[in-house]
């Protein structure tokens, strides 16, 4: 029935394919004596139709009809509803439907230009899907249980180092109290307890709020900040695991991963700062997760979307992580195949942008994008604004904290880590000429250093993201150097041993430098102050406090409240000064309405030197007597907390 003589190869082929033997029963076409209505019903014929009894054609099959020749045309077949025409040439067989035309030639064994086609196909049009950095498997085989065991031991060391003494050292900072009280505000349906000024995006303390809900309230671990510090412990553990995994994937060396884990977990700077409830710790976790997803995804789009979401969360936890965006985009470029690169870049950049822009959307929807001072039409209510805050932040000078002061703190904490963080940038940038992943890592660190040296405000805890990045960079650099040595000796085990030696050197160095992390108790002074307030201060008193006391005085169950009534008029000094509602309405600008001031030395310093609206607290302090002083050793200095009671001019003291 076909138009050609079947070739022997083809017969073989047809026999080889089982479906043609079994599945297809030759279906006899219903012929044209059947009415069109029947033909129209055909599509609903159910499958499979075997066995189909052959329908005896009552009209001649196309192959049996005699052709009608008229001039240049020949009608091959005629049926009630249609007919088939073709051309008629002298000397040619006119019935191609029945038998071969007679012009059939032997088929060529290869197609014309087959050789050229093969040659050209190797050089173009094949999809380019080799990843730029295929993840190479380590050459030494170690069973998975052993690797898991070693990592678990490393993580346990990290856990102990971070957890031991974490409620006592370092002392509770202003920021920690702020974020805890913000988390509390989230649970109350607000963004911050005081009017929200767009200083940081709220997702960081939303995560704390979720943790508080999960862990059963603010005071499961003592005071509110302790609860936050437990969450930070989990973030720190997550980070150490991610650091291990990232380095293990990038360097294909487990020992290098272990080195990174140890540097990251045991550095004195890490132990100090990662205990504190800081948005940087949260953001670092999400940044590392994004990097890990990118590296492990091996150019799969779903992982890149995951990395984008993760990086977006990092942005919304701490806006400063935006400066990693260019390097992240470079990392995406590096880790995707050419085939997917365009779509991966678009998806990543857009998703990050979309998640990040939701912060601006929040301001727009609340009508707080543009400053009130611009007096835009329809903007009648006095409010804080995103743009105002942004301008304020870019204009902040180094009075709050300078690079030099922070540098001093870092160097006295862990000089080797600080040195590594600079040296390895240079080293990895050079090696990056041959191995692009190391260039990428160097760029990660470099972009953060650029922020630190830009000349704006720099606080010591700004170093947090650099701890992880430096650990990764250092481990990669050490592994590179050691593999050179091993290559010289032509024995890869040498590399492993040498990296293990470095780990052996890092641990005692770190532990020797971080002894105060495990021994000092600066928070005891702060906890004593809370207890004193609980015992001595009436509940209707207006107390000016630092933010770390806020939750424990305001929320039922707090350590300063216990089962009794809360202190609804305990307010953070910064907001007492700057919030018009507090300063102008509740206090009516009158220092005499303040009853107590609980201040540490930084707070006193702020009150004295910031001036302006802060003078109301300063005046109140000048009219007060010292009721109690608590002090404790804090690193090289002493933490002193003083409780002042304001001596009222008028007898009626409370608001």
């Amino acid at each position: 029935m076909t138009l050609y003589e079947p070739l022997p190869e083809q017969e073989k082929q047809q026999q080889a394919s089982p479906k043609q033997q079994g599945q297809f029963q030759r279906y006899v076409t219903p012929m044209e004596d059947q009415t069109r209505q029947e033909v129209q019903q055909l599509p609903t014929v159910q499958l499979p139709v075997s066995p189909v009894p052959p329908v005896p054609p009552t009209m001649a099959h196309p192959s049996q009809q005699a052709p009608e020749i008229e001039g240049g045309n020949v009608t091959l077949y005629r049926a009630p509803n249609f007919f088939v025409l073709t051309t008629n040439r002298q000397g040619r067989r006119v019935h191609p439907l029945r038998r071969p035309t007679g012009f059939t030639t032997n088929l060529p064994k290869t197609m014309p230009q087959q050789g050229e086609r093969i040659a050209s196909s190797a050089t173009h049009l094949l999809p380019q899907i080799a990843p730029i950095n295929p993840i190479n498997k380590g050459r030494l085989t170690i069973p998975l249980w052993l690797e898991t065991f070693v990592v678990v031991v490393g993580m346990t060391i990290s856990l102990v180092a971070h957890a031991f003494n974490m409620f006592n050292f370092p002392r509770y900072e202003l920021d920690e109290g702020t974020y805890m009280s913000n988390a509390w505000a989230i649970l109350q349906g607000l963004i911050t307890p005081y009017p929200y000024g767009y200083g940081h995006p709220p997702l960081g303390w939303m995560q704390i709020a979720a943790w508080v809900q999960l862990s059963g309230g603010f005071f499961t671990f003592g005071n509110a900040i302790n609860s936050g510090r437990v969450l930070m412990l989990f973030y720190a553990l997550g980070c150490s695991l991610l650091v291990y995994l990232i380095v293990r994937l990038l360097s294909a060396s487990r020992t290098a991963g272990l080195l990174a884990l140890i540097i990251f977990s045991l550095s004195p700077l890490s132990i100090t700062y990662q205990r504190q409830v800081l948005l940087d710790n949260i953001g670092t976790f999400w940044l590392l997760l994004a990097m890990y997803l990118l590296v492990v995804g091996n150019s799969r789009l779903l992982y890149i979307v995951g990395a984008a979401v993760s990086f977006g969360i990092a942005l919304l936890s701490k806006e400063i992580f935006l400066l990693f965006l260019p390097v992240m985009i470079y990392a995406i470029w590096l880790h995707t195949t050419k085939f997917q690169r365009k779509f991966a870049l678009v998806a990543f950049t857009y998703i990050v942008g979309a998640i990040g822009s939701s912060f601006i959307l929040l301001a727009v929807l609340k009508g707080e994008l543009f400053p009130y001072s611009w007096h835009l039409p329809g903007d009648t209510r006095q409010h804080l604004s995103l743009i105002d805050t942004l301008i304020g932040q870019t204009q902040r000078t180094q009075t709050g904290g300078s690079l030099a002061t922070s540098w001093h703190v870092w160097v006295s904490g862990d000089a080797v880590l600080v040195a590594c963080s600079i040296v390895t940038i240079a080293f990895n940038a050079v090696v990056g000429w041959w191995k692009r992943q190391q260039l990428m890592l160097a760029l990660f660190s470099l972009s953060f250093w650029l922020l630190l040296i830009r000349g704006g405000i720099v606080l010591p805890f700004y170093f947090i993201p650099l701890i992880a990045l430096t650990a990764i960079n250092t481990a990669m650099a050490v592994n590179t150097i050691m593999s050179w040595i091993a290559k010289l000796l032509r024995f890869d085990v040498v590399r492993v041993v040498l990296v293990l030696v470095v780990i052996g050197a890092v641990i005692p160095y770190d532990l020797a430098n971080s002894s105060i992390d495990f021994t000092q108790h600066p928070t005891s002074a702060q906890q004593q102050a809370i207890v004193w307030i609980h015992q001595h201060v009436p509940h209707n008193a207006f107390i000016v406090i630092n933010s770390y006391l806020y939750m424990d005085l305001r929320e039922p169950g707090g350590t300063g409240v216990g089962p009794g009534a809360t202190y609804p008029l305990a307010h953070v000094y910064f907001n007492v000064a700057t919030d018009p509602d507090l300063h102008d309405k509740i206090l009516n600008g009158n220092w005499d309405r303040i009853d107590y001031i609980v201040a540490d030395s930084e707070m006193l310093n702020d009150i004295e030197h910031l001036g302006g609206p802060f003078s109301i607290i300063e005046t109140a302090r000048e009219h007060s007597v010292t009721r109690a002083v608590f002090s404790a050793n804090d690193q090289d200095s002493k933490l002193v907390i003083t409780i002042y009671q304001v001596q009222h001019k008028i007898a009626q003291s409370t608001v």
Binding site: T2, Y4, E9, V39, P43, L76, V84, T101, Q340
Partner: protein, 424 residues
């Protein structure tokens, strides 16, 4: 009253979530091919051809195609394949003497008895599937395929199909169809890209699930299978999609190939009116298939869900288009809580992502077809995105309207060969 408002708010939220889910799923379909590096091979055509073995019957249904038909027959006849293994069937109805004359003249010129003309009577009505069913009765190739009158198949396409069918033992091969005149009208960019993503990416996802509405041409089906299925559904306006579902029902093995080099080139409808008419016909065909309920016989739930999604998608999208003014109203005149107001922006974010992916697609399209990248065109694409959705919605609403009224005549799309000029 407050309960009523709360209910409305909840309903609005549910619609927002459905819109977002649909938009994300749509983006997933569009990007399916680029999800993993291995997917690159899905579209890769064989580079080394086997000896031609399978004979092919090429059907060329045409109606009022005097301008382009002659050229089309010549192009198909010129395909790189032994002439003995090709049967070309030009299909016309007898009320279209112009096209018949063109075809006859061409057949006479070629002088090859394997080039044949099928003329069927125009009563009770002319329809493409009817012509195809008649042609199937005289088709003698191992494989049957359809090209539309304005198509420009790649010269090597038959070798590729021959190799693929023999190597992979598949019953059906759908090769890529690509609109080429991407910059003639404002809606062309998005229409071209729609084809680009549909054939290059979405169809692979459909094939993986096992529910593939095929394209109208460059589909190669083993003739025996075609006859077993009983040909095309003559009452369906989109007999191609219907055939796809029936092929899936019959567990035919299916292969999708979209190699940019070997796509069949087509043109977009040349006016907006034509475009809406074409969409109306497609959507109406989908509605017909939906109410045939054959898709319910698909085995797996995922297949049935996907079939349902594909068939009613145009109407759902039309509904979403209608939601745009509603959401604008809600944004400006209804004071929603801030978190709810932020959630209502999710579909918009997804739409904008879709625009950027379209731009990336345009870049890819221009690169593989060696056209120049122009920022002006990107701007037109961006501006055209929402009007285009609106036009699609219009097509869907029109289809629903016509379905209810019971009008089911074939609104034919005219062809003037824009893609040929564009390529030349």
């Amino acid at each position: 009253m407050t309960i009523f408002i709360a209910f409305l708010e909840l309903l609005y939220l549910v619609i927002i979530f459905v819109m977002t889910a649909q938009a994300i799923f749509n983006i997933r379909l569009i990007l399916f091919t680029w999800e993993t590096p291995e997917h690159a091979w899905l579209n890769h055509a064989p580079t080394v051809y086997r000896d031609p073995c399978l004979s092919v019957t090429i059907m060329l249904p045409a109606r009022h195609e005097e301008d382009v038909y002659r050229e089309t027959i010549q192009k198909v006849y010129d395909l790189n394949y032994p002439k003995e293994l090709m049967q070309i069937l030009a299909i016309c109805s007898d009320d279209d003497p112009g096209t018949i004359a063109e075809a006859q003249a061409k057949i006479d010129e070629l002088g090859d008895p394997n080039v044949q003309l099928v003329i069927y009577d125009s009563k009770p009505k002319t329809s493409k599937p009817r012509g195809l069913n008649y042609a199937l009765q005289v088709a003698r190739g191992d494989v049957v395929t359809i090209f539309d009158a304005e198509d420009e198949p790649h010269p090597d396409i038959l070798n590729i199909i021959n190799t693929t069918m023999l190597d992979e033992g598949v019953d059906v091969v759908q090769s890529g169809v690509q609109l080429m005149n991407y910059n003639t009208k404002w809606f062309c960019f998005l229409n071209v890209l729609e084809y680009f993503f549909w054939f290059k990416s979405s169809l692979h996802f459909f094939a993986r699930i096992g529910m593939t509405p095929l394209g109208g041409n460059t589909v190669f089906v083993r003739r025996e299978l075609m006859e077993q299925l009983g040909g095309w559904d003559e009452n369906c306006l989109t007999e191609d999609a219907d055939l796809g579902i029936r092929l899936c029902l019959s567990h035919a093995r299916l292969r999708i190939i979209y190699d940019d080099e070997f796509v069949t080139r087509e043109e977009t409808p040349h006016t907006l009116q034509q475009f809406i008419k074409q969409r109306t016909r497609w959507n109406q065909g989908f509605i017909q298939i939906f109410f045939k309920w054959e898709w319910l016989k698909l085995e797996k739930l995922s297949q049935r869900l996907l079939a349902c999604y594909v068939l009613i998608l145009p109407e759902v999208q039309a509904f979403f288009v209608l939601m745009i003014p509603v959401s604008l109203f809600m944004l400006f005149f209804v004071k929603l809580p801030v978190w709810l107001a932020m959630l209502t922006f999710m579909p918009l974010y997804c739409f904008v992502l879709a625009i950027f992916i379209e731009i990336a697609g345009l870049h890819e399209f221009l690169r593989v077809h060696k056209h120049k990248w122009r920022w002006r065109e990107v701007l037109i694409l961006m501006l055209a995105f929402f009007p285009y959705q609106f036009v699609l919605g219009l097509g869907a609403i029109r289809a629903v309207f016509r379905s209810i009224k019971g009008t089911s005549n074939w609104e034919k799309t005219a062809h003037i060969g824009q893609h040929r000029k564009a390529v030349a």
